[in-house]
Amino acid sequence: MKCEYCEIIEREGKAPILYIDEEMVVAIKDKVMAPGQITIFPRKHYTILELVPELLVAKCAVVANKVSMALFESLGCQGTNILISNGLAAGQSVPHFGFDIIPRIEEDKVGLLWEGKQLNDDEFEITLRALIEDVKKTQAEKAKKVEKQAVADAAAAEGASAEVVGKGVKVIDEASSKGSDEKVNGEAKASGETGTKGKVKSQSVPPLVRNIRRIP
């Protein structure tokens, strides 16, 4: 295996692994911007961000925040950066997607800066329009997919699971009205077990938003 990250998983002894499970690895590389830099990467070999399943991105993001907190406490750094270098043009050096968490202290000469540019209004306008269009298209496509799936699910799941759907919807309502992440966890688990189909409730809020909110 040529990929450095896959090698880390295979060999395990080369780069210390802080944490590993079926989906994700947290490791310490020796080629870093600053000592203490930690890398989180999926166990499976995804090359770029766009190919990684949303779930995994979500998990890595949450864990990245925890790593950052741990770095503050254990290394006494004064700041942290989270960086995803996505694609060769972005300086991605390993063809395997990863999150880098970099501890920062004053005058560490790590860099990671940029100079703000002044663009004229036309350029902004063009970019703005193009992106808004693209976002709309993506959301429309997703909504169509979700609807199709819902129709298929509803057709398949008539009768016995109607009760389950009802329960699921109720739990989601309770959960969203509470607003606090911690309390929601207990219910999130319950709704995960029973009401996966119940989430196609409110079309005004994309399901992604409602569900992600419940990650503890």
Binding site: C60, N81, V135
Partner: protein, 277 residues
């Protein structure tokens, strides 16, 4: 994004006022002063390309490159540790989608996702921002240099970070995973104790007790397969095998234990999987 300059007098007056306020009042004041909260509220105009219940995405008006996006949580969080896990996850999932949009519309070869957490890390705003920046080769954006650090240093980092990291993950209590396999056994007993020392008062953590009731200990054991130790593939290193062999890169890294058992709160990620089906 420069804040107004204050005279020394004004600074004094503000400091005195802050001392007399409750944390809630201070939080409210921060929110009122925060440019990005004003943008979120629509009080300051912005070039918005995306919005949902949790966040907005706008074009940076002083960008690193055309298409530089700022992803801003609607709630006011000054630093990243304050951001709840759900919102953190959501920010990055949306960032993934917007990164794809950038690749498509701007035809660039890559994007950088970046959070500056703390002033020394480059944070200039009093509000957590996730940057999504379109990248081109040679653009002099987010430049960095990699250095090779010694095996000794890597080991030190591991020993320093691991216990705290595990505490934040909710794995194990005071006992740091030691360098042997017996450590895993110890962690198991910690888990079943249910004796978790809550660390950060404001870090959103799931209620351990709730999860304990819902899954038997044996579930944890089944979920995770310990990482298999294949025959040592010594020899060709990956891309990091550069000529700087000043550092002593030995293979004496016997410290990595086998895969730790997944804790109950990780079960919540399964339920995310269910929600996504």
């Amino acid at each position: 994004m420069a804040e107004k300059e204050m005279t020394d007098e004004q600074r004094e007056a503000l400091a005195a006022k802050l001392r007399s306020m409750t944390p809630e009042q201070i939080a409210q004041l921060q929110k009122e002063q925060c440019i990005f909260c004003k943008i979120v509220a629509g009080q300051i105009p912005s070039k918005k390309i995306y919005e949902d219940q949790i966040m907005i995405a706008i074009l940076d008006i002083n960008p690193a490159a055309r298409g530089h996006l700022l992803l801003i949580p609607k709630n006011h969080y000054m630093i990243m540790p304050h951001v709840p896990d759900g919102e953190m996850a959501h920010l990055f999932v949306v960032a993934q989608k917007l990164s794809e949009s950038l690749l498509r519309t701007l035809k660039v070869g890559g994007t950088s996702l970046f959070i500056a957490n703390g002033q020394v890390a480059g944070q200039r705003a009093q509000h957590v921002i996730l940057h999504v920046i379109p990248r081109r080769e040679g653009d002099k954006v987010l430049d960095f240099t990699d250095k090779l650090i010694s095996a000794d240093m890597v080991h030190k980092v591991e020993m320093a970070v691991k216990p705290t990291f595990y505490k934040h993950l909710g794995l194990g209590g005071d006992d740091a995973p030691k360098e042997s396999d017996t450590a895993n056994a110890k962690m198991d007993s910690d888990e079943s104790d249910g004796s978790h020392v809550p660390l950060e008062p404001d870090a959103p953590r799931p209620e351990p007790a709730a999860y304990k009731e819902k899954s038997a200990p044996s579930d944890d054991v089944e979920i995770v397969k310990p990482a298999r130790k294949t025959a040592a593939k010594k020899g060709a290193k990956g891309s990091s095998g550069s000529a700087n062999s000043k550092e002593d890169v030995t293979d004496v890294r016997a410290n990595t234990p086998t895969a730790p058992k997944r804790k109950d709160d990780d079960v919540s990620l399964d339920d995310i999987a269910n929600l996504f089906k």
